[in-house]
């Protein structure tokens, strides 16, 4: 029994070069499958997170904002920027038919706050009417934000109790949000009073593009959920038709670009994984066939000394399974070592919302990848195992076999 178990391992150890190539190939297969799946899962989770975080069905912005082709970058990609419209327009919008929940937001981009930072997007919301940001801020902080209090996104290296200075105004970090994989991870949230204070300070310091601005009389965007019985499309059409100087947009339309990019990446990744699969299976099939052909006499001797047909076939299958498990484990290690630590770089490179799956799902995917590697290796060696089991030792040892 002991000999049966150790023979495949001894065979593998006896040909280190061949074993290394086989392990490397299965590692490549596993790494591609796991890495590709993790990236696609991360993008899907990021998109879901973005859909959830946008919160409103309709967004109304000043008309100029949509012509700058920067709006989607600001709303979806985390670029910094700001635009304003008269607050009176908000009242006109609210009065339109079909408008349900309404809340306003004010935007401001910080300058680099001293050393070691880049500008961040500051978003001011009205805690009394807000229905988009407040629900997930409440998960971290139940008390209302006071003057000068801010909530920071997960990608900012500021923690509760820290002080950040924007335009000379000291702000206290009251809470830090969970990772969302979206532009909100690099944003700072505060109430309308604080952001108005910051806007005024930026104007006083001549660091704001809108020098004649009255922070109390403007808003950056109006977020709307349609009233019962009305669709987002009806509300958008009505506002665009009857309220001048503004543009209403369905938030789902904004996400559609991201969704298309995601489909494209998922397709390319799928093709890549399929190509690697086919290539690796063909190579494994060839290597196992060649290796077994070379070792026909070895197996013939095994048969002569009493090994059954099944034992010879099992030996080949066990070799393949060992190779699959070793390569699979190596591939999982390399895949995780690339995807997990470099997830911020992947997010930056793709320019799309990206949120890695949780630990449990990663473990599940790794297990599935390992199983796949073992199955593929075993399947690739199945033909060779069958041929070995049909082998006639007498013919082989006489040297008559081709």
């Amino acid at each position: 029994m002991k000999q049966k178990i150790s023979l495949p391992r001894r065979n593998l150890a006896g040909s280190p070069g061949r074993t290394a190539v086989l392990v490397l190939l299965t590692a490549l297969l596993t790494m591609t499958v796991l890495g590709g799946t993790l990236i696609v899962s991360g993008l899907r989770k990021g998109l879901r997170s973005l859909e959830g975080r946008l919160g409103a069905d309709v967004m109304v912005v000043p008309y100029e904002a949509t012509t700058q082709s920067k709006l989607e970058d600001i709303v979806l990609q985390g670029s910094t920027g700001y635009f304003y419209m008269d607050r009176k327009l908000c009242d006109k919008i609210t009065a339109r038919e079909g408008v349900g929940q309404v809340s306003v937001q004010l935007f401001l981009a910080s300058t680099s706050s001293g050393c070691c930072s880049i500008p961040v997007q500051i978003i001011g919301f009205d805690p009394e009417t807000d229905f988009t940001v407040s629900p997930w801020i409440r998960q971290k902080r139940s008390e209302p934000l006071g003057a000068g209090d801010i909530v920071v996104g997960n990608d900012l290296n500021a923690f509760v109790g820290d002080t950040l200075t924007f335009y000379g105004v000291e702000c206290h970090v009251a809470a830090k949000l969970d990772k969302t994989g979206t532009r909100f991870d690099t944003a700072v949230f505060t109430n309308l009073d604080t952001i108005r204070m910051l806007i005024q300070s930026s104007i006083d310091r001549k660091m704001n593009d809108f020098q004649k601005l009255n922070p109390d009389g403007v808003v950056s965007c109006v977020l709307i959920n349609p009233a019962d019985g009305y669709s987002a499309e009806e509300v958008v059409n009505d506002i665009n038709l009857h309220v001048k100087k503004v543009r209403a947009i369905r938030t789902k339309e904004m996400i559609s670009g991201v969704s298309d990019s995601l489909s494209g990446i998922a397709s390319v990744t799928g093709i890549l994984i399929a190509a690697v699969w086919v290539l690796v299976i063909i190579i494994l099939l060839l290597v196992f066939t060649m290796s077994v052909n070379e070792r026909k006499r070895e197996f013939a001797v095994l048969r002569v000394i009493g090994a059954s047909r099944g034992a010879a076939a099992r030996c080949v299958l066990q070799e393949a399974l060992t190779v699959g498990l070793l390569g699979g484990a190596a591939g999982i290690g390399i895949g995780l070592l690339v995807v997990l630590p470099f997830n911020s770089l992947i997010e930056e490179t793709l320019g799309l919302p990206f949120l890695l799956p949780g630990g449990g799902r990663i473990a599940l995917l790794s297990g599935a990848a390992l199983l796949l590697a073992a199955i593929v290796s075993a399947a690739a060696s199945a033909l060779s195992a069958y041929r070995i089991s049909r082998l006639d030792p007498a013919v082989i040892l006489r040297g008559d076999a081709s």
Binding site: S112, C116, N157, A158, T186, P341, F342, S344, L345, E347
Partner: protein
């Protein structure tokens, strides 16, 4: 095998030392500005990696298995320290999307973990070498 692993260890330490300056370096100096905190982390990692390279070379050259094994353990400890430099020992920049967080930190961690594991393997091999003789 032992020698090959020690040569790989030496090469990886040298690669970390050069890589942190040339390939996966920290954030660039802003035009007319000052170096950011992450630059200190970059220098610290480079210095530690240079030390690791020297230790790896010593391990390769020293014939006494026990001393070489001890150097291996020291190398592993040094690599663990290098992994902790960005973000833990030395402060980094404000945003996780900045280069020092997105590129330098993960690359240093990956290299350091691999160096530490390799150094431990080499140490075990060198310790057991004496027992065999």
């Amino acid at each position: 095998m032992k020698k090959i692993l020690q040569i790989i260890l030496l090469l990886m330490s040298a690669a970390l030392c050069a890589g942190v300056k040339l390939v996966f370096h920290a954030c660039a100096k802003p035009a007319g500005g000052m170096w950011m905190h992450c630059h200190d982390a970059e220098n610290a990692v480079c210095g530690i990696a240079a030390g690791l390279a020297v230790l790896s070379l010593l391990m390769l050259l020293i014939k006494n298995g026990k001393i070489a094994g001890c150097i291996g353990i020291l190398t592993a400890a040094g690599a663990a320290a290098a992994a902790l430099v960005p973000g833990h020992i030395v402060k980094m920049c404000m945003m996780d999307t900045m280069r020092c967080h997105a590129v330098m930190k993960p690359a240093v961690i990956v290299f350091s973990v691999l160096i530490a594991l390799l150094a431990l393997c080499c140490a075990v091999l060198r310790f057991t070498e004496k027992k065999e003789s």
